[in-house]
């Protein structure tokens, strides 16, 4: 299978980290389902134009987190993700995005109150759509 991971070439974030974050998110959100056989390390590397060393590291890390399991001779599979992990993960993605938002707001001199009222206003606008 082809995994929909998109590398951002101009990102400052290390390659393995980009791949790992996206693959983890695909697994935890269930978009890549339990039991899925992932591509071989060489296939995935070719697909993303990176080295097998990077993919091996990603698979290894996610295996250590319990998200993947490698069976000798068959390949690497997605394991079961429990509901608590899934909720915690969702929260974490949003929290990261909020931190990013706070950074941007601070860099142009917004206060917390200003940011909060802008956020409320935008939420109201979005809800009206």
């Amino acid at each position: 299978m082809r995994i929909p991971v998109q590398i951002n070439e101009s990102s400052a974030e290390p390659l393995y980290h980009q791949i790992e974050t996206q693959l983890r998110s695909l697994i935890v959100t269930g978009q890549v389902a339990e039991g899925t056989l992932l591509p071989s390390i060489r296939e995935f590397a070719a697909d993303l134009k990176c080295s097998v060393i990077t993919i091996r590291r990603v698979y290894q890390d996610l295996e250590n987190e319990g998200l993947l399991r490698t069976r000798q001779g068959t390949g690497t599979f997605v394991t079961k993700v429990d509901t608590d992990d899934r909720e915690a993960y969702k929260k974490q993605i949003v929290q990261d995005a909020v931190r990013e938002l706070i950074d941007t707001a601070r860099s142009v001199g917004y206060t917390g109150d200003e940011l909060r009222s802008l956020l409320d206003e935008t939420l109201r606008e979005e809800n009206r759509k």
Binding site: S10, A12, Y16, S40, R42, S51, S107
Partner: protein, 297 residues
């Protein structure tokens, strides 16, 4: 790292216009290594040493852990497939399939099915004499014949030159398959950046007969960044790995670093947030490497 399949140990070879070495290099099992460098830098000589088409003046070459100064035994030679840059004229009048027959007799793992499948995928007409093939067709035949031997060590000297884009893609897929399924180790010289991007795990750069070392491709790519920050001359002085910098406007400076990890750590420490960060392209980093801006880790 793991097992070295091939090793050049302190090798020196004097050629007409240049001296290769002293050079130390190891190829590790199950990896694809791209050999890069300018024309005439010694890449082809390095490969010829690996099949004993030339012998070193000094030092030694080690195959699968052993040197064979008395000549490679047939069973070791049969583990190695080599596609040269220029093809020997001696097979010229021979028909393609007869040439394949001859090779099949030397390689115990020769796989006719794969040979025929590859020729079909490459769209090479059968039955022709080797010297009646176009340059690209001849290369396709040689690549097919090399892969049909199911080698443990695959040496390719600029394999893509003269290939059409479809054959090029097939070739890359098949080399990968050779590594994945047969556990081959690959060394390929190339001038094509896209090929390095798509294929290589490691890069070896040779320049004027000397090796500038071996680097993992992604680690190399992690190192080069072009960064814009608010102008701070003092800070710029302290940043590591800077190979280029210019003041872009009154309040903004742009620089290129080959030590992004160190640079990012320092910027973070002093609380400077870059305006923009761009990863260097592979060819840009390779150029800096060639110009001595990068030392292997």
């Amino acid at each position: 790292m793991d097992n070295a399949v091939l090793e050049w140990r302190n090798v020196v070879k004097k050629r007409d216009r240049m001296v290769l070495g002293p050079l130390d290099l190891k190829l590790y099992e199950h990896y694809i290594t791209a050999l890069i460098g300018r024309n005439g830098s010694g890449k082809s000589t390095l490969m010829k040493l690996a099949v004993q088409l030339v012998r070193p003046d000094e030092g030694e070459v080690i195959w699968f852990g052993r040197p064979y100064p008395g000549g490679l035994p047939a069973d070791v030679r049969a583990e190695i497939a080599y596609v040269p840059e220029n093809f020997a004229a001696e097979e010229n009048g021979i028909k393609m399939d007869d040439a394949a027959d001859f090779r099949a007799s030397w390689y115990p793992r020769w796989d006719w099915q794969r040979y025929e499948e590859l020729l079909r995928r490459f769209d090479v007409p059968g039955g022709k004499k080797l010297n009646k093939l176009s340059k690209g067709q001849r290369r396709k035949f040689e690549i097919a014949a090399a892969l049909a031997t199911r080698p443990k060590l695959l040496l390719l000297d600029e394999p893509s030159s003269g290939l059409d884009p479809f054959a090029w893609k097939t070739m890359m897929d098949e080399i990968r398959r050779c590594v994945d399924e047969d556990g081959a180790t690959v060394l390929m010289s190339t001038h094509i950046v896209e090929e390095v991007r798509r294929m290589a795990d490691y890069l070896v750069l040779v320049d004027k007969g000397k090796s500038l070392g071996m680097l993992e491709k992604d680690a190399l790519l992690e190192r080069g960044r072009e960064i814009w920050i608010s102008r701070d001359d003092e800070l710029l002085e302290e940043l590591p790995g800077i190979v280029e910098s210019s003041i872009e406007s009154e309040g903004m400076v742009r620089f290129v670093t080959l030590d992004y990890a160190g640079t990012a750590a320092l910027l973070d420490e002093v609380g400077v947030k870059p305006i923009r960060v761009r990863a260097l392209e592979l060819d840009e980093v390779m150029e800096h490497w060639m110009n001595g801006g990068l030392s292997p880790v």
